[in-house]
């Protein structure tokens, strides 16, 4: 072991990317001229030199076994000189120079269960998080819902038949590791009950002042219990954000009968046309219903169907809603408008309708 430590390498950083770039990229680095999408899942980038790079994009569940990664490696060796990459939304891309390899690669990928698509005006892979696979904080699972939703939306992954790109993301708690807050559609796991205080463990595990400071609504006050330092939670003020739980393991919020999901719409990240926007609350609460969360799937499909039907070309979900107005969004989707939709946090006043720009 001491031997091992002596040889220990640290702070070497990641391998330099140039090691992994195919020659065609090295040769045309920074000299690409334009791209085309001849069919869903296939990007063709043409360089100033005339060289053409064919990228074949396929879905992955993100959670991959080493077995599967080896299979991908094999496919890369067979069709793309061993070069491949992953995208910022967890798709896999094979980097081909020979267009004749496109069809057989797609065939093998499809056979392997990895549908090809996700380019252009399609629904790409869902960004998502750990859920019950790995996180203590999860109000719901991640991978299972993604699977259920994408099974239903598969045609929109395979085809580029939508008014615009649509980005769906899921986070299993308010920490929002998927950074879902700027998604066309976001599925967000929510706790809906205040923390249960483990009064025995709390004084051992947690610093009271940090716990008190962690609460955005000042719902937590220091107290004593059985002579020991403890905290009191004003349940009327708690909105279940779990920040106290992040800081203190003795304040779990997980609650199978009340944990569930919310759905948010109309966010975007790109600067294309309109500025980036946050997603807004569409459906406040749907209970957890594994293994296929049918109510969540229906809600997402419904929103997409209505958007598809009414949006103009190039209109992202949020851009479409901004044009037609939120009242019409609720009307067309049939989603019930409730008090919960009306903001009551810090900047709430700015979200009230301060004009008579209404539709009837």
């Amino acid at each position: 072991m001491s031997d091992q430590v002596q040889q220990r390498l640290t702070d070497i950083g990641p391998p330099h990317y140039s090691k992994f770039l195919p020659p065609i990229i090295k040769e045309n680095y920074g000299k690409w001229k334009y791209h085309e999408i001849p069919r869903p899942g296939v990007l063709v980038h043409t360089a100033e030199s005339g060289a053409k790079l064919y990228s074949v994009r396929a879905a992955t569940p993100r959670l991959l076994s080493t077995n599967k990664i080896r299979m991908f490696a094999q496919l890369a060796e067979k069709y793309s000189n061993g070069y491949l990459r992953f995208t910022s939304r967890n798709n896999i891309e094979f980097l081909l120079t020979d267009p004749n390899n496109i069809d057989p690669l797609i065939e093998e990928l499809t056979a392997l269960g990895h549908v090809v698509g996700g380019t252009g005006n399609s629904i790409s892979n869902m960004v998502h998080t750990q859920g019950w696979i790995h996180c203590h904080s999860a109000a719901t699972d991640a991978s299972g819902i993604v699977k259920a939703v994408m099974d239903q939306l598969i045609e929109h992954y395979k085809n580029m038949d939508l008014p615009a790109k649509i980005r769906i993301a899921l986070a299993c708690c308010l920490n929002m590791c998927g950074a879902v807050h700027c998604s066309d559609i976001a599925i967000l796991g929510v706790h809906t009950r205040p923390p249960q205080i483990n009064r025995e463990l709390l004084p051992k595990q947690c610093e009271i002042p940090s716990v008190v400071a962690s609460c955005p609504t000042a719902a937590i006050r220091p107290s004593t219990w059985d002579g020991k330092p403890s905290v009191e939670i004003d349940e009327d003020r708690c909105m279940y954000c779990a920040n106290c739980y992040t800081v203190c393991p003795s304040l779990p919020l997980n609650d199978p009968d009340h944990d569930g999901l919310s759905i948010w719409v109309g966010g975007k990240v790109s600067n294309a046309r309109t500025e980036p926007m946050f997603s807004k609350l569409a459906v406040p609460y749907i209970p957890n219903n594994p293994p296929r969360w049918p109510e969540v799937v229906d809600a997402v499909v419904n929103i997409i169907d209505v958007w598809r039907k009414y949006a103009h070309k190039h209109e992202r979900v949020g851009e479409w809603i901004n044009r037609i107005g939120w009242p019409k969004f609720f009307k067309l989707t049939g989603i019930e408008f409730r008090k919960e939709h009306i903001d009551d946090f810090k900047h709430a006043g700015l979200t009230y309708k301060r004009s008579v720009h209404l539709t009837y």
Partner: protein, 399 residues
């Protein structure tokens, strides 16, 4: 390894359907890996009970590093002893997520040896996530990874693994070399990445153009987004081709231009570049006809994050335009970033992201402290309220 087999009727339902199945992945791994097998059982139980079975993580890691590993323990260790520890290792991905088949297989070898055989390709921050290992395996796995040229990524109150879009490697719109800058930043901040010393996490994300394909404006404390400041390059012939091939230039482009600066007379496209907002839309729709200008660089924005605790933030402009050219050592931004880090470390509260810090102290005070002049590009609009602190107007007078 005990080869206990779990019944997973609920999970089994997630094997059908055309979307690739994560359950199949776990099952595949479970054939040879007991950790993966136990995970199946535990997950089925979560599905039955609608409840996770992981405990709040403890501090585990490799020697000399303060991060890169997320400790995880199940709350049912008796039932699932193989995953009583189930830590993840965050491995710093190569910039742009490019790999060779060879490199991937080497990582798989390590993870078959020391972990669950399961991964995330990739984590939301960008790392290669190696899911599930035991404390005692961390150090040997780390050693093997570094020998392969891989290092751990960030976690905790540290610089987090920077990530970027593929940029110049595969995109005609990259306004600077995102992958080169990402590598540079990752190497420049190795110490800050591995040894948490900040009030909270610090994420860098680099996108080559305003399309922002790594969502940097939504989820990076420092967002570096490519842009240009001269004229959009136009090939009129190709514009006409698009028009003839079904693009309704008026409806699709002119009406959607946020700068209201495009005119189209059926034959020629005119852009008033002085009003162009660099949104990319016209270029996106007609990639063969239009391209960003030649005087390229980037905008630097600061402060985005998820909602905890004061509500989500988007990054906002700090440096409207800067050339990003080699040698990166000479870029002026490092001094600015150092100033930002110093100020935030000194005055930031525990668990206060830099964006929240700016919200608290005010952008005006922040830029003053880090040595930037006020610029109208930093704001969406000037103040609407008349509550102005006037001291700067009368400074000479003060005794």
């Amino acid at each position: 390894m005990a080869d206990q087999k779990y019944e997973t009727p609920l999970l089994d339902q997630l094997e059908s359907g055309e979307w690739p199945s994560f359950v199949k992945e776990i099952k595949m791994a479970a054939e040879t890996n007991q950790m993966a097998n136990s995970l199946l059982g535990l997950l089925e139980q979560s599905y039955e009970e609608r409840k996770g079975h992981w405990k709040h993580g403890g501090i585990v890691g490799v020697m000399g590093y303060g991060g890169g590993v997320i400790g995880r323990y199940t709350d049912l260790p008796e039932k699932y002893p193989d995953i009583s520890h189930f830590h993840t290792m965050r491995v710093n991905q190569p910039a742009g997520w490019f790999y060779t088949a060879e490199a991937l297989k080497q990582i798989c070898d390590v993870w078959d040896r020391y972990g669950s055989g399961l991964t995330n390709m990739h984590g939301s921050t960008g790392d290669i996530i190696l899911l599930g290992t035991r404390t005692e395996n961390l150090e040997p796995a780390f050693n093997e990874l570094t020998k392969l040229g891989f290092d751990l990524g960030g976690s905790g109150s540290a610089v987090r693994t920077p990530s970027c879009c593929c940029g110049m490697a595969r995109c005609e719109w990259a306004c600077y070399d995102t992958m080169a800058l990402t590598y540079y930043i990752t190497m420049r901040y190795q110490d800050e990445l591995h040894r948490p010393a900040f009030p909270y996490k610090m994420k860098f994300k680099m996108s080559g153009c305003p399309n922002d394909c790594v969502a940097s404006i939504a989820r990076a404390d420092i967002s570096i987004i490519g842009t240009w400041r001269d004229e959009i390059q136009i090939n009129q012939e190709e514009v006409r081709n698009y028009a003839n091939n079904g693009v309704d230039i008026y409806k699709e482009i002119v009406l959607n231009c946020p700068g209201k600066c495009i005119e189209w007379n059926g034959n020629e496209l005119k852009i008033d570049d002085s009003s162009c907002r660099h949104c990319m839309h016209c270029i996106n729709v007609m990639p063969k006809a239009l391209a960003p200008g030649k005087d390229r660089g980037a905008t630097i924005l600061v402060g985005s994050k998820a909602p905890i605790i004061e509500g989500a933030l988007l990054s906002s402009v700090l440096v409207p335009f800067i050339k990003i050219e080699e040698p990166f050592d000479d870029l002026e931004i490092w001094e600015l970033i150092d100033n930002m880090f110093d100020l935030w470390c000194e005055e930031g509260k525990n668990r206060e992201r830099i964006g929240e810090f700016i919200q608290r102290v005010g952008l005006g005070n922040f830029i003053e402290a880090v040595g930037l002049p006020p610029m109208p590009e930093m704001i969406a609009h000037p103040r609407e309220n008349p509550y102005i602190f006037y001291e700067s107007f009368f400074e000479e007078e003060e005794e």
